[in-house]
């Protein structure tokens, strides 16, 4: 992936917009979901939709902090595009009879905690922290989950929707990795000191505390759905490969830290990491929903309806 011209990318993003109305959600093929697939797919789609939505919120935060007008606008578009993906996935759920009336599917508790953190603190986070985490989430979770979905689901409408979604995602990643390289450009010492200062920010520590168990939880979910763990790790490996392809990219301390973390996640023998994080996943699963604050109102923006 070559470093991209962000202005050209913005023009391309604007020129390649699509809407839910471009897809015929009632076209034949919905019956290709087998009875056996249906319950697992329902959970899977709910998770996927929420991950898109989490990505959307992160892009919203990045749009506020972006260092240039072009990046600011790109992130505003990506925010909306992630929302579009979540809407399209919800429309697929509707098509497959997975929605209970107009009710939004519930996110799992770890996603719920990440949503809570994003809503409270993401706007305060430096753009480069989110700018490194988001490509990781996109490439690992989104990438792995989408691939799994397309490998196992035979519905042509699903393929049509994901062709569009994947085109968008490849642009998000292109920009994501370019920005990571931009961050790596400059004096190493200064960057390290800045990063160390950021790492001591309690808000960021809280973010890390919700991000770690999310990855392990998603790994468990993915395995439960029948996707091999290795496929998820392959996708995480891509982050390391693409993010570290240039010197600037490698010099980005946030890339190094996320890379290190992804190695811990991938290495199941690393008990020092997995035992406490898996324990947190378990503990968090006992948090009663009513103990959490009300979902932020941006969550209610989701819709499966192509028109309003």
């Amino acid at each position: 992936m070559a470093k991209i011209d962000l202005d050209k990318m913005l023009a391309k993003v604007k020129a390649t917009q699509w809407s839910l109305a471009d897809i015929d959600w009632d076209a034949p093929g919905a019956d290709r979901i087998t009875d056996e697939q249906w319950p697992r797919l329902k959970e899977f789609m709910a998770d996927l939709m929420w991950i898109e939505h989490v990505g959307a919120r992160a892009f919203a935060a990045m749009a506020k902090k972006a260092p240039t007008d072009t990046l600011r606008e790109l992130y505003s578009y990506f925010h909306a595009e992630e929302q579009r993906h979540a809407n399209a996935e919800m429309a697929l759920m509707k098509r497959w009879g997975m929605l209970d009336g107009d009710e939004l599917p519930e996110p799992n508790i770890n996603l719920r905690l990440v949503i809570e953190w994003l809503d409270r603190y993401s706007d305060e986070m430096p753009v480069y922290v989110l700018g490194t985490v988001v490509p990781m989430l996109e490439i690992a979770l989104d990438g792995a989950l989408c691939k799994f979905l397309l490998d196992t689901v035979d519905d042509p409408v699903c393929h049509q929707a994901f062709e569009k979604i994947n085109d968008d995602e490849s642009r998000h990643l292109g920009v994501g990795f370019t920005v990571m390289e931009m961050q790596g450009h400059g004096a190493t010492y200064t960057r390290m000191v800045t990063m160390a200062a950021r790492l001591m920010d309690p808000r960021l520590i809280l973010g890390i505390a919700s991000y770690f168990p999310l990855l392990n939880k998603m790994r468990d979910n993915v395995v439960a759905m029948g996707l091999s763990e290795e496929k998820l790790y392959e996708c995480m490996g891509k982050f390391e490969k693409i993010g570290g392809r240039t010197e600037d990219g490698r010099r980005n301390p946030w890339f190094q830290i996320i890379k290190l973390h992804s190695r811990w996640v991938v290495n199941r023998d690393n008990r020092l990491y997995h035992t406490p994080v898996d324990a947190i996943v378990k503990v968090t699963s006992y948090i009663p929903r009513r103990a959490l604050p009300a979902v932020p109102s941006w969550v209610r923006e989701l819709t499966y309806r192509p028109t309003a």
């Binding site: 809407s19 109305a21 578009y77 929302q83 809407n87 109102s297 923006e301 819709t303 028109t307």
Partner: protein, 500 residues
């Protein structure tokens, strides 16, 4: 058979006898200039108005809720105060009535030629006359010309893909369709600027569903609007000095706001706090508050005042959309989150086509030079009123005369009095032309641009004050009193005076 609406060829134009002063536009600026000229004993005036009525922007902007965001006692001429303003911030109908009454009080109708849309304004070097050709095929000429067409006179539609494909009803805030019934309709409003925040609280009362599309949130401040008590009107009528004193007080209060609006100072932070307090006070939902929180320094764009905009957005039938617009389609607006928002009517509250470099019609100066060409790299003038190469031509609301913190009419009065001095100089000295020196204009603008670099307007946000390249040809970087002081004197050393 000839077509009556077809413009006549220049050779066949109906020529009117030359006047002393020709004014383009019968809005606040044009009429104010006529009044002051008249008071200075100059009565040989022609005012060319493109519409069939006076009032300019206040004639055109009659959308529901239209009002001024400067107190009426300051948004009126000091030489024609109105003791009867019904509210502290009057509505557009009342302002329009004030302008019409001004025409009657000062007997201005005799000067106005309605339905005369100027298509060309050219200086005749040989005779020292400005000649205006109009769409109706007539030609008017005068020794001096005043361009008072106003910067906010042509409605602007946004550059959105598919804007012509939309099949529903379209209304622009500056050309309101008063016959359209909004009751029970699904209505979209594009824009959240000065007009939009006045329209939205009104439309939400009637529309079945109102969807507001916002690109950039503005700073919205509380609006100290109240009905004028009867005793105050009586006091102003019996003791006009009391109204002048209030006007002075309002003027000084607004002058102090320059510290917050024009430059980045501790007062700017206070103003931002007030704006955030107003938002927090009126909007409970955290996400909606985030959507409505500006991410630029206060003052960089126009500051809005409203008490009912935020509450309107929270009505059950109203929804704020901050997703970027992808395009317009047959039935409505498609936004980037993939949803097609369908409407019976779309209201474009997208402001005006502000020309930073061009002119509304070709203006040809000495030797046939074109003003739009001279202004290609950004409009420039001397003290915002005169332009080198265009003798005997005067501008109102010319380059770098816009205020961000005070009444535009305060600035206008200074310009008008300067113009009257200029015209009187031409007449008293019996000059063929009074032409500002290029060097004086250059020196003036160098100073202005240097000062502008330190203002909030040039702090990085995009606004109609700036050209695409970020050149500020709109605002005056200082207090209104500073502006008034520079306009007090017509320094003839900066002009070339040519006898007949």
């Amino acid at each position: 058979m000839s077509n009556p609406s077809r413009p006549k060829t220049p050779g066949r134009r109906k020529r009117h006898p030359s006047a002393t002063v020709l004014i383009v536009g019968a809005g606040f600026a044009g009429l104010g200039t006529a009044i002051r000229l008249q008071q200075a004993g100059i009565r040989d005036i022609v005012i060319l108005e493109r519409a069939a009525d006076v009032g300019g922007t206040w004639r055109d902007n009659q959308y529901p809720g239209a009002a001024c965001d400067i107190p009426s006692n300051l948004y009126s001429y000091s030489f024609d105060q109105n003791p009867d303003w019904s509210r502290s911030f009057s509505g557009s109908t009342e302002i329009f009535e004030y302008i019409k009454a001004m025409v009657e009080r000062f007997d201005l109708a005799q000067y106005i030629r309605f339905n005369q849309n100027v298509t060309d304004l050219a200086y005749d070097d040989q005779h020292g006359l400005w000649r205006a050709s109009t769409e109706s095929g007539e030609q008017f000429s005068a020794r001096a010309a005043v361009m008072a067409h106003g910067p906010l006179s042509n409605p602007s539609y946004p550059d959105i893909a598919g804007i012509d494909r939309y099949q529903g009803h379209k209304i622009h805030s500056a050309a309101w369709d008063h016959d359209y019934d909004f009751r029970g309709k699904k209505v979209g409003v594009i824009g959240t600027g000065a007009s939009a925040i006045q329209i939205i609280p009104e439309l939400v009362k009637d529309a079945q569903k109102l969807t507001v599309f916002q690109r950039t949130p503005a700073w919205v401040m509380p609006r100290p609007d109240f009905e004028t008590p009867q005793w105050q009107k009586q006091l102003f009528r019996r003791l006009p000095a009391s109204q002048s004193a209030l006007r002075k007080g309002l003027y000084l209060a607004h002058e102090s706001m320059a510290l917050a609006v024009i430059w980045d100072s501790p007062v700017t932070r206070l103003a931002e706090r007030l704006g955030r307090w107003h938002l927090r006070h009126q909007v409970r939902d955290r996400w909606l508050r985030r959507q409505l929180t500006p991410d630029y320094r206060i003052g960089c764009k126009r500051i809005l005042v409203s008490n009912d905009y935020y509450p309107a957005l929270q009505q059950p039938n109203c929804k704020l959309i901050t997703w970027p617009i992808a395009r317009l389609c047959e039935n409505g607006i498609r936004t980037v989150e993939g949803i097609e928002h369908q409407f019976d009517c779309i209201v474009f509250a997208t402001g005006f086509d502000v020309s930073h470099s061009g002119t509304p019609f070709p203006v040809r100066g000495s030797g046939g030079r074109l003003l739009s060409e001279d202004w290609q790299r950004g409009a420039q003038a001397y003290k915002s009123v005169n332009v080198a190469g265009y003798p005997n031509l005067f501008l109102t609301f010319g380059p770098n005369s816009g205020p961000g913190h005070n009444s535009v009419l305060v600035y206008m009065e200074s310009q008008i009095d300067y113009i009257v001095r200029g015209v009187k100089t031409i007449l008293n000295r019996n000059l063929k032309s009074l032409a500002v020196r290029d060097s004086a204009q250059q020196a003036y603008n160098d100073g202005i641009q240097k000062r502008l670099a330190r203002t909030n307007w040039n702090s990085g946000c995009k606004s109609w004050y700036l050209t695409e390249d970020g050149f500020n040809a709109t605002m005056y970087p200082g207090f209104a009193s500073q502006y008034a002081r520079q306009m007090k004197e017509l320094d003839l050393r900066d002009y070339v005076l040519t006898p007949p």
